[in-house]
């Protein structure tokens, strides 16, 4: 227990922890699919606000570590969409002590880079009215500019080339790798940025976990921007990869755009192509200085490590970093659409035939939210309620070869559940849409089948057991819940979705599955694409901002 009045608690305040999950008297009689195996989460909060969450699991001598910052696409400004994701890459290029052979030499160049970029921003402001987009749409990768902007950009390249003489590439990544770091994805930037968070995560041998504290404390406080201009295009490639697939790019973004009026939780993390031209170091460093402070960070550790060990390391590294000013605390809201405002989106770019029926649902932490995971699990897959709807005397999934899926998005803000049917033929789409809407109606009428509910509960229990038994996944869930709502919500949520009753399903279905809360999107395989004369500004003309 913390005694904050004690002079000895200057460093840390702690708290314990505890998720007293529910060992109610009835548990012994629970059906297996309702059984819930809790984990014991310990919590430590340093005096500077840095939070440590820890679950001990000594079965394998390794530790999954992830550090979470409450900053994501929702914190971006207009004209800089994708800047948080870009920042993730920008601060993975080393620090004042890592990734350099002579930082003092670099520092002088950084001053020149700043001055040059100031000039570039000033020039852009000066010619803003000649560069701004006046057509309806912009040409992808056409970055308007003028000769002066080109010269300044060229100068920035030259300065970065000079800076690169002192640079050690992939320094942090290679230290992690040398010491056995397992990274969730194979990218040299071991991080993820979403709408609501950014995290860096590694799984290390237990005896080397100090490396994580060393590198991440440094990254949080002393990151140095290196190779910025090349990064601009590397990150852009990730975005292009998404945009070039309609289902993950344009179609998805249009669907999100139709879902909300103002809420930034529907922004696409990673941003927009044109914005990449306008990122500048100064605004990104403002974001870094604002949000990368110990009082906005949570470290989630799962594995063969005790809280005593974690505390010693946390105090040595993160405890050294001064508490920062509280990050901006903007609260985002979405106004309720008027009744009768059901939206239908007909997509005119050829892609796989599909119907998406989307409803808005509450965010994590709301009492109604767990049941939507139960609903998604009951509807999902080739054996789910959607695929099982009757069609021509058989199951529609089999009869028409339709692949059905259901997914309830997990965010702290308002969210969505998507019911999707992928058909092999366009002409089956009306039947697919009808089947989805019939399934929704049956949920509203309390018609969830006992077998579907039982299967859903089992699938959710399996999912929780996977989270509980995989270090990296548990570390990830702890961090995500912490930034979205609070880590202590994780287990009640997991338990509640596993135990949602037919009546609870009916109740939330009646409340949320109503037409004015719905968006239906239809995409077809055989459809004439738009005419070739796109409404872009001047295709192929603009690369003026680039050397």
């Amino acid at each position: 227990m913390v005694d904050r009045r004690s002079p000895y608690t200057t460093w840390a305040a702690v708290v314990a922890v505890a998720v007293l999950m529910a060992t109610s008297p009835g548990n012994a009689q629970e059906a297996p699919s309702e059984a819930f195996s809790p984990v014991e989460v310990q919590e430590l909060v340093l005096d500077n606000g840095f939070r440590v969450l820890l679950v001990e699991d000594p079965r394998v001598p390794r530790v999954a570590a992830s550090i979470w910052f409450r900053v994501g696409a929702m914190q971006e400004h207009y004209g800089e969409h994708g800047s948080t994701h870009f920042l993730e890459h920008a601060i993975a290029q080393g620090t004042t002590t890592i990734g350099t052979v002579d930082f003092e030499a670099e520092r002088a160049i950084l001053e020149e880079i700043r001055a040059t970029e100031d000039e570039l921003v000033a020039e852009r402001n000066a010619v803003r009215n000649s560069l701004r987009q006046r057509e309806v749409f912009f040409e992808e990768l056409a970055w308007p500019g003028n000769e002066r902007l080109r010269e300044l950009r060229e100068r920035l390249y030259e300065l970065e080339d000079r800076q690169a003489e002192y640079r050690i590439h992939w320094a942090e990544y290679n230290w992690y790798r040398r010491h056995g770091g397992i990274m969730r994805h194979t990218d040299p930037v071991p991080a993820t940025t979403g709408n609501e968070y950014m995290d860096f995560d590694i799984d290390l041998p237990r005896e080397r976990v100090e490396l994580f504290f060393r590198i991440e404390a440094d990254r949080m406080s002393n990151a140095v921007l290196r190779g910025w201009e090349a990064q601009r295009f590397t990150v852009l490639e990730q975005i292009l990869n998404r945009f070039n697939r309609p289902e993950t790019g344009r179609f998805s973004e249009a669907l999100n755009g139709a879902t909300a009026i103002v809420h930034p939780v529907y922004l696409t993390p990673g941003g927009h192509l044109r914005d990449f031209a306008y990122y500048d170091r100064a605004s990104m460093l403002r974001m870094y200085d604002d949000y990368f402070v110990p009082n906005n960070a949570t470290l989630a550790l799962v594995g063969d490590i005790t809280m005593d060990e974690a505390r010693r390391l946390a105090e040595r590294y993160f405890g050294r970093i001064p508490r920062g000013p509280e990050p901006p605390a903007r609260m985002d809201v979405e106004p309720e659409p008027p009744p009768g405002g059901a939206i239908r989106l007909e997509w005119h770019e050829p892609m796989d035939s599909r119907v998406v029926v989307r409803y808005r649902i509450p965010g994590l932490g709301h009492q109604d939210r767990p049941a939507f995971d139960t609903i998604a699990a009951a509807l999902d897959g080739p054996r789910g309620m959607l695929a099982s709807r009757e069609h021509g005397g058989g199951r529609i999934g089999t009869a028409l070869g339709v692949r059905f899926s259901a997914n309830a998005r997990a965010t702290g803000s308002q969210s969505t559940i998507d019911l999707v049917g992928r058909a092999s033929r366009d002409e089956d789409l009306p039947a697919v849409e009808a089947a989805i809407l019939e399934a929704v109606e049956s949920l509203r009428d309390g018609g969830i089948e006992a077998s579907a509910l039982s299967r859903a509960r089992k699938a959710l229990r399996l999912d929780w057991e996977r989270i509980r038994s995989e270090r990296a996944r548990l570390s990830e869930e702890l961090g995500r819940f912490q930034v979205r709502n609070g880590w202590h919500v994780m287990q009640p949520f997991m338990q509640a979705r596993q135990r949602a009753s037919a009546e609870e399903v009916r109740r939330v279905a009646r409340r949320y599955f109503v037409p004015w809360n719905r968006v239906i999107a239809v995409a077809r395989r055989d459809i004439d694409p738009p005419a070739g004369d796109h409404l872009v500004s001047d295709p192929g003309s603009g690369d003026g901002g680039r050397p």
Binding site: S6, W11, A12, A13, V14, V17, A18, V19, E40, L44, D57, R59, P61, T96, T97, L110, R114, Y157, A164, N174, W175, R177, R178, H179, G180, I182, T186, P205, R206, E207, R208, E210, L211, R214, A217, D218, N222, G227, E229, A230, R232, T234, E237, Q238, F243, R245, R281, D289, R311, R316, E349, A377, R383, R455, A459, L462, E465, S469, D543, P547
Partner: protein, 507 residues
């Protein structure tokens, strides 16, 4: 250890004098630098563009930190091994604390096992084993347990796996074993089957076996069985049956079971499930080397995908002969080092692509297609090919040297990261042992891997690279919007595609 209940963390306050000194020094530095007075950027403690000072510290540099010996010990494969009376080999790795069980079945089934007239049969047979199908299908039974039956197929190996709750392990194991023992070879499904194009989508990213440029390169360099069968290929019922006869037997299948199970119970179940299972025929492969590619008239080929995409995808490679076990560690080390250099050259320095990776063949003898896979916006395509091949040429140049740091970084990654990840816990270890036994008959190489990797020196890695990778034999296939790619010029790295003399693939 996971347990129920809660525990409070007790704080032992600490205020070591050294720390106090650092704080005082930091505070002084903060005061001297003028922070908080609106002149941060002019101060010595604030980096250009920042609004807050650098955090001064005495943290050791990673190069100066030494760590205790690594303690990881994988589950003992000898203790896990078990063979049924029918000849089925299994690895049972119990872990009482686990609430889950992973069931894996690995068997020699892939394109290399297809004989004349059987083109496409391995993929179709694997699909039949795992399709939802009738009431007795394994996929349906696993689905009823809230899980999914997963399928992975390589040139000469197929792996089926599922993860289920511990209470469902017997039903899960029965579903997997019974589908292999009594496969539902639905004749209507076989007759209606036509081989697909072999790739998932024209421009779907760098990952996966369905990466189209790789498939096109395989077709160009070897055709079947290096490449998937051509689109539209029909497979006869007799071909599927013949392949099933040869591949699906108790002595060919290796099962892994790891997690919350008891060994004795699993052994009893396996005995019963395999009792009377007839042995399979000769499963031998039909091709054991892809070392001699055909004579080609060009080194760059293109496939036009004219749609709204702005990105082109590339595979650059050549066929590779089998790699003897003695050469494997050095070749893996070399490939990893090259991958770092390659990405620094094309990604970090030039910003041409998000990811570029050299992949070695995954077949059991490591023969097959060695290739680089990458992709980027139109203006990047020419430079990506140019600089990738330039980097490879530099890497195999005898004058070039591998540094001690490069070697140590990669050796750590292979020995401590990849290897431990494959054997991390009872479920993964059981799967890894099953796959390794299906490939090589035992787990010896797998267990010796860390020592073998750590024993590789720079010269050996270099020699392996020169022996197996040849930039002069590399052939590139580009898939994408070719008009756009042809016209594009990168402003900083203007390598025109025309300079590479591309030849359009007839499609």
């Amino acid at each position: 250890m996971m347990s129920t209940g809660a525990r409070r963390s007790r704080v032992t306050p600490a205020w070591p004098p050294r720390l106090l000194r650092v704080l005082v020094v930091s505070a002084l530095a903060f005061a001297v630098c003028g922070c908080g007075r609106g002149e941060e950027n002019e101060s010595a403690g604030v980096l250009p563009g920042h609004s807050r000072p650098v955090v001064e510290h005495d943290w050791p540099h990673p190069r100066d930190v030494t760590f205790p010996d690594n303690e990881f010990v994988p589950p003992d494969p000898a203790a896990a091994a078990f063979t049924t009376d029918s000849g089925l080999r299994a690895h049972v790795v119990p872990e009482a604390s686990e609430a889950l069980v992973r069931i894996t079945a690995a068997l020699p089934l892939g394109r290399l096992h297809e004989r004349g007239g059987e083109e496409g049969a391995s993929g179709l047979l694997a699909s039949l084993l795992t399709r939802q199908g009738g009431t007795a299908s394994a996929a349906r039974r696993i689905s009823a347990l809230g899980s999914e039956l997963e399928l992975r197929q390589e040139l000469d190996l197929t792996v089926l796996s599922a993860e289920v709750l511990a209470e469902d392990w017997l039903e899960g194991l029965s579903a997997v074993v019974e589908t292999l023992r009594r496969p539902a070879l639905d004749e209507d499904v076989i007759r209606g089957h036509r081989a697909g194009p072999g790739y998932a989508s024209p421009t779907s990213g760098v990952a996966g076996p369905g990466f189209r440029p790789k498939v096109e390169l395989e077709r160009l360099l070897g055709g079947h069985p290096l490449a998937p069968p051509d689109a539209g290929t029909r497979v006869s019922v007799s071909a599927v049956r013949a392949l099933a006869e040869r591949s699906l037997g108790p002595e060919t299948v290796v099962v892994g079971i790891g997690g919350g199970v008891e060994r004795a119970t699993v052994e009893d179940a396996l005995q019963q499930l395999t009792d009377g299972w007839r042995q399979a025929g000769d499963v031998g492969t039909v091709a054991d080397s892809f070392g001699e590619p055909p004579e080609l008239s060009a080194s760059v080929y293109t496939v036009d995908v004219p749609n709204w995409t702005t990105t082109g995808w590339i595979a650059i490679g050549h066929t590779m002969p089998p790699v003897p076990p003695a050469d494997r560690p050095a070749l893996e080390v070399a490939a990893e080092i090259f991958n770092v250099r390659l990405n620094i050259a094309v990604r970090e320095i030039r910003g041409l692509a998000n990811k570029t990776v050299l992949e070695l063949p995954e077949s059991t003898d490591h023969g097959g297609l060695a290739h680089l896979r990458t992709g980027g916006r139109a203006e990047s395509i020419g430079p990506l090919i140019h600089y990738s091949l330039e980097e490879l040429a530099r890497f195999v140049d005898p004058e070039d040297t591998i540094t001690a740091k490069e070697l140590a970084d990669v050796q750590g990654g292979l020995a401590l990261s990849k290897w431990q990840a494959a054997l991390d816990g009872s479920r993964r270890a059981s799967a890894a042992y099953a796959v390794e036994t299906a490939r090589r008959g035992n787990t010896e190489q797998l267990l010796q891997w860390p020592q073998e990797v750590l024993a590789v020196d720079a010269e050996e890695a270099k020699a392996a690279a020169r022996k197996y990778l040849d930039p002069d034999k590399m052939v590139a296939v580009i898939v994408g919007p070719m008009d756009r790619i042809q016209q594009a010029r990168h402003p900083r790295w203007p390598v025109a595609l025309d300079d590479l003399e591309p030849m359009r693939l007839a499609r």
